[in-house]
């Protein structure tokens, strides 16, 4: 069975600080990896995804993530956060094809101006 662990449940940062959110997954096959963001009162939006190729993936709004296969990790990073990044961030995994997406428990990010 696939599973996703997010280590940080609640992160508080000041604007311009660097961000790294941890994500580890468990899956017995080739994976697709995602980071979704949920702004207050809004739906889940895709930040970035990894399917194959370059393990360093760049997404929207200056976010990036690195897939490290040996560590089963897919950590999310941003060099300098803004107040508008305040949201909940979900790491997710699915197998190849159209299989279900399994989400982590989410990390609430609060950015203080």
């Amino acid at each position: 069975a696939q599973s996703v662990s997010q280590h940080n449940h609640h992160v508080i940062l000041s604007e311009a600080a660097s961000l790294e959110l941890g994500c580890n997954y468990s899956y017995g096959g080739t994976v697709n990896l995602f980071w979704y963001v949920q702004y207050p009162g809004q739906h889940l939006q895709l930040l970035l995804k990894y399917f194959s190729g370059d393990p360093l993936v760049k997404g929207i709004k200056g976010f990036e993530a690195e897939f490290i296969k040996s560590k089963f990790s897919f950590n999310l990073r941003k060099p300098s956060v803004q107040w508008s990044d305040t949201a909940e961030y979900f790491c997710a995994v699915s197998g190849r094809g159209y299989q279900k997406v399994t989400f982590g428990t989410g990390t609430k990010l609060q950015v203080i101006p």
Partner: protein
């Protein structure tokens, strides 16, 4: 930009009542999903649907739940007899490729 739309945005129902949550997936998508998120918990998979049948379902998706694509555009989730623990945000998603699932804004279901 095409989007998945869900109605209603918030539904309050009495325990034991039936509810139908509605979703309009993106028009050329063929794979449909329902997820739920109980307050403070993670997003959980309920069911996937393709070619007018369920392709996968979770343990949560018991006999009280059913899904239907009644008219080729809507995709509905029915809960036959709601329980307090069904209170959650329910998300519909659709896909036309393995690369990305598009999610709706969710329906907040409150069972009282």
């Amino acid at each position: 930009e095409p989007e998945v739309t869900q109605t209603p945005s918030h539904q309050v129902t009495q325990m034991g009542q039936e509810v139908i949550l509605r979703c309009v997936p993106i028009s050329n998508h063929l794979y449909f999903y329902w997820y739920r998120q109980i307050l403070g918990q993670k997003v959980e998979f309920l069911v996937s649907f393709y070619n007018n049948e369920i392709s996968e379902k979770s343990e949560i998706f018991d006999d009280q739940f059913s899904v239907e694509r009644p008219d080729g555009s809507n995709f509905t989730l029915k809960i036959r007899s709601t329980k307090l623990e069904d209170s959650a945000m329910y998300f519909c998603a659709s896909r036309d490729s393995p690369t990305e699932a598009f999610f709706g804004q969710g329906t907040r279901l409150t069972v009282v």
